[in-house]
Symmetry: D2
Subunit: 376 residues, 4 copies
């Protein structure tokens, strides 16, 4: 047995926890996955970092990513968006495989630099679009690839949350254009565009043209001190919601939307596709299910995608024993680390994530110009 792959991980909050958990669970459920060692956790706040390292099972910590990237076998970049480019590029230049959280970068320029760095490296550079790894999404992909939906006519994607509908909700880095790039568009829309490209990219072709609309409902947000008193207000410089229309190469019509103001929706990412022979519908809040219309069926059938023959399911539990959101990270890490171990490509790659970024950028350009724009 070979040495375990050592992991350096930048970021120890939400995504740090999600990926650490995934790494911890691989041996029991994916015995074929390469062995890994959670080696160094990277962050700025040493106390919080030490605490997280202890909890997440890392043996070392570091406050300087530059010192880590060539000391580990794999680099996970889970920091905020404005920290995606520099460390990822440096790691790739050091020959270290990178898994970077989405969206790839806050700007198309930064994303381009990352894509070029990945092209120049001969190690995998992956972008962590985890929703590709929902069993029901992989099952949907199989259906589409096998032609069960026929020619694709309609693609609909929307991602609804409501955590900002209260104007007193606190300011955060995700609301700052310099730190985040964009708002709902980059945070949520990136997932939608990636899933859509993944699912119908081969059948419907590229998204060629878009018309976009970004809206900010609340222009500034409070920052609270420890007693809950408002210390100051900071400007919201990103979108609270976006919508877009899209035209695919084959003429299919796309409509996309995301919001942080969609009252009553917590994490509701839905994808609907209509083809000449069938259709399907997916909702992240019911991620074990896929609604499917194919063949001679008259209505949509609710498929519980938990059978042994369903993607990844044989690794887990018997039929009907549902999995959760976090399982997508286990599957994603399995695929990424297997690619690293085998020296193969990982998909979604930086190049694919760049293509997503092109669409997001086109939506922003369209919003600026008040006109349809070409994506590339």
């Amino acid at each position: 047995m070979s040495e375990p792959l050592t992991i350096g991980m930048l970021g120890y909050r939400f995504m740090g926890k999600a990926h650490s958990n995934a790494l911890a669970r691989l041996p029991m459920f994916f015995p074929d996955a390469p062995a890994v060692e959670r080696h160094t956790l990277i962050g700025r706040d040493e106390d919080a970092l030490a605490d997280a390292a202890d909890r997440f099972g890392f043996s070392h910590t570091a406050t300087d990513w530059a010192a880590v990237i060539d000391e580990v076998d794999v680099f996970y970049n889970l920091g905020p968006n404005h920290l995606h480019a520099e460390p990822s590029i440096a790691a790739l230049e050091a020959g270290t495989p990178v898994l970077c959280e989405k969206p790839l970068a806050p700007t198309l320029e930064a994303a381009e630099a990352m894509r070029d760095a990945a092209a120049a490296a001969d190690v995998p550079a992956g972008c962590a679009f985890n929703y590709r790894f929902v069993p029901a999404i992989q099952y949907a992909k199989r259906l589409i690839e096998s032609g069960d939906l026929g020619e694709i006519h309609h693609v609909r994607g929307r991602y609804l949350q409501d955590w900002l509908v209260d104007p007193d909700a606190e300011w955060a880095w995700r609301m700052d254009a310099d730190l985040a790039g964009s708002g709902a568009l980059g945070d949520l829309g990136a997932h939608t565009v990636d899933l859509v490209r993944f699912l119908v990219g081969e059948q419907a072709g590229d998204i060629e043209r878009v018309s976009g609309h970004l809206q900010t409902f609340v222009d500034e947000r409070p920052v609270y001190d420890d007693e809950g008193t408002v210390e100051e207000h900071r400007p919201v410089t990103v979108d609270d919601a976006y919508s877009a229309q899209a035209e695919f190469a084959n003429g299919a019509v796309g409509t996309f939307e995301a919001s942080r103001f969609a009252t009553g929706h917590k994490n509701d990412h839905t994808i609907e596709i209509h083809g000449s022979e069938g259709g399907l519908k997916f909702s992240l809040e019911r991620l074990n299910e896929l609604e499917v219309l194919t063949g001679e069926s008259r209505g949509y059938e609710t498929v519980l995608v938990t059978d042994e023959t369903d993607p990844y399911v044989d690794h887990w539990w018997p039929p009907g024993h549902v999995v959760g959101w976090e399982h997508t990270f286990v599957h994603e890490n399995f695929e990424f680390l297997s690619a690293v171990d085998a020296g193969e490509e990982f998909s979604p790659s930086f190049d694919e994530a760049y293509r997503v970024q092109e669409v997001l950028d086109a939506i922003e350009r369209s919003d600026d110009r008040g006109a349809w724009v070409d994506v590339a």
Copy 2:
């Protein structure tokens, strides 16, 4: 008791049947409705017309609408779209109240002429947007008016059908630009825009700007002879599907869509609204229900809008005894005929229908130009 109002009705197919049925049912369920006499049914094919008149309870038939419009008390214009303007205007000029099917006209110019004729007349001129008269929609209107949804942020409307997804489906007048004006946009989108204006028009204000997209997936369609052999192919000169983004006066974000290619959907008109305090969702295929989020609720509540206190319901059956699509016509005819009898305004008026047409026209203009356009 006064004399019954005599009705002259142009059109004896789908809409003729729906309105005749509504007229026939009023006495039993809406005893306060003015009495009517189904007097003259108007059409071109004398045999089919005689048969329909017999079935629909009309005592006379006529092939020339011009000879009827000043002989009856009320004129129903249920003909194809290109026949909306001339007879309706002539009737109004003769002082005869008009109920005209939607969309008001195939072109904005024709709609404008109709609106002006209505303004010059002092009798009601109504456009038959029947979905306003679904009890659940009226109930939704009450909730919005009472402020239960707060400030409106998102409005989503889509109308999905699939009757054209088969490329061998027969050509019909609805696919011809001269006869129908537009396709899914005018036929289905008109309903969506009217409902949206009805529901949130006061809270969100007018739709000020739109970006539109029209798509035709199948460019020509067969015409079959009686044996089912293809006689010829005729061009499809309208849209099979449209999508649109909209901005309301208050900044609310709208997304609209309709298709005749949405596999597995028969008559699925859905409206979703998110406000700062709540939200609601409606689907025409489950028209007795409204999903509602208000107050302290955590999730959407499925309200069966069939209680005695619900709009129109006390006229029908006890709680839980659901009504159907056709009941919307009974309610609509009750309101229209009551307005005629009382000499009052009827809403939706030609003016309101013109405002809908402005939005549809703006969507078409936007599609032509590839740019956002102002509605008015």
Copy 3:
């Protein structure tokens, strides 16, 4: 054209309205139905009766059913349960066809007498189990008959209402054992047992044994005067809810339940059937839909039973234009009057309704004895 069939109708409240409406609608939608004349409406309160006759389109009224039954061509018995037997039997003895509301009678003895009277007559005697005539139920019947569900293993039926959950809800004849026979069992359970027998009677055979449970949660109810003051309390001598287990001839397992205390349910009659090859689910509150599992499907498919090829639908509207509760009465009246006109059998007959009553009676006997009992 022959003379219209004259109808004498006993009862002018809820069911009187439902059947009168059905009769009124037949000519427009079922042109093949025999012509009828709403002739005599029968009741006790002359003022209310006159008013109802006017509204329901009857030309005569009468306070003595005995004087009517041999003067009309068809007798509709829509009175309270304790008035089902005597007038129906008298009518049949006079050679007048009878359509009687359900349940057939308050006691098995009365039902037996009615069945025998029907057997001795050579005119149709029908029991108005209207839910058989829901298009989705007829469609379900087709599926089961064609073998699509295979061998039947499970049948589940429940009928949930909540109009008595408030202990201050007013006393009514439906809560009195002498007038109504039983409570939820006879009023709601009769529908369930009839539907189940209709749907699986041929495949699963008869219900051979049952175990029943009746429960009354509130023992007495107020009677209010016109000012809403409680005048007196009257005892509730019927069940508020029942449950039952059943064994079919083929070994299939049945579970039935009904309640007037099922908070949040208005008129929720659900039927679920599992066979070796498939399954189906129906809910009366969404009566245009049927959930179906057959063949290679993995999950239940939601079929909107509104296509032209679906039972009765071609008489109404295009696909996706949903019908309501009342349409079941139109279909039922069409079938019954067609049978009268043709001198043929009508199903459900008094004999079938008696068989339902046997099951209800067995449930009551089982509850009394605390033991399983044989149905016949």
Copy 4:
């Protein structure tokens, strides 16, 4: 920091995997949980056992449970039902806390002995009814305890699977009365009865009387050799499905059912409760949701039970990030090990599990006698 609790675990298949995973996940998500060491895995097949120990993170294996029970700090009994009593009792007699899988035992006698052993021990003896630890179920419990549902009138529980609907499905120990006790009743019904007692036990009181029905649809099943050829047929001596009616101390009506023949259902455990003030509905296949009717609501509200304030959720992910079936085991193990560590009671205890067994036994007795029987 104290020494970790050493775990000895009997059983290394489905339940062994579920509990091992739970133990492995505690440190990252429940830092307050006592530390544990997966010490000895116990089974008969040494090769399979070694492989499982490696995968599940156990450092030792043993083939004789008797040699382990007093060498470890905690004993997990996850073996088949007929192995529940002897090792669990021996462990308790040795002063070792026990967590035993459900149902407690194949017979009431064995369950009684286990209950008595637990009463005599002063260490926790828990039965692993994991569905109590679904966040939505704990949330439901809170609602009921706070009186939001009022007086309980109806309780409905059913557990539907379909893995035996194919008569060629292979024989397994779960189909043998000696090894399993009963079939669907003990395997699935035990969960239902425990959940029902947990949720409404205080409000509705004990289940006092039941009427039960057990049915076996397929009397024998094939055993296949490695090539898939039928070697022999073995008799099925347990029920494929059961149904039951129940009466609670307060008069509430219960109906229970489970089946392994419910086509199209994989692991569909539903609980529905109606009270005088509200109601709720739960389905295991959508375990992150609870349908709730309370207060002034008109219809059931779909609550996504994933907020920070919901039970256990703050240990996991942000709102809307759903958990899976396996998380119930993490919660259960957290509670059990915390109780062990603190020397406190754990619920569900052997005594509570015995009370469940009493109900199951009464259902069997009722089925034998064809009569209602008292539970205790």
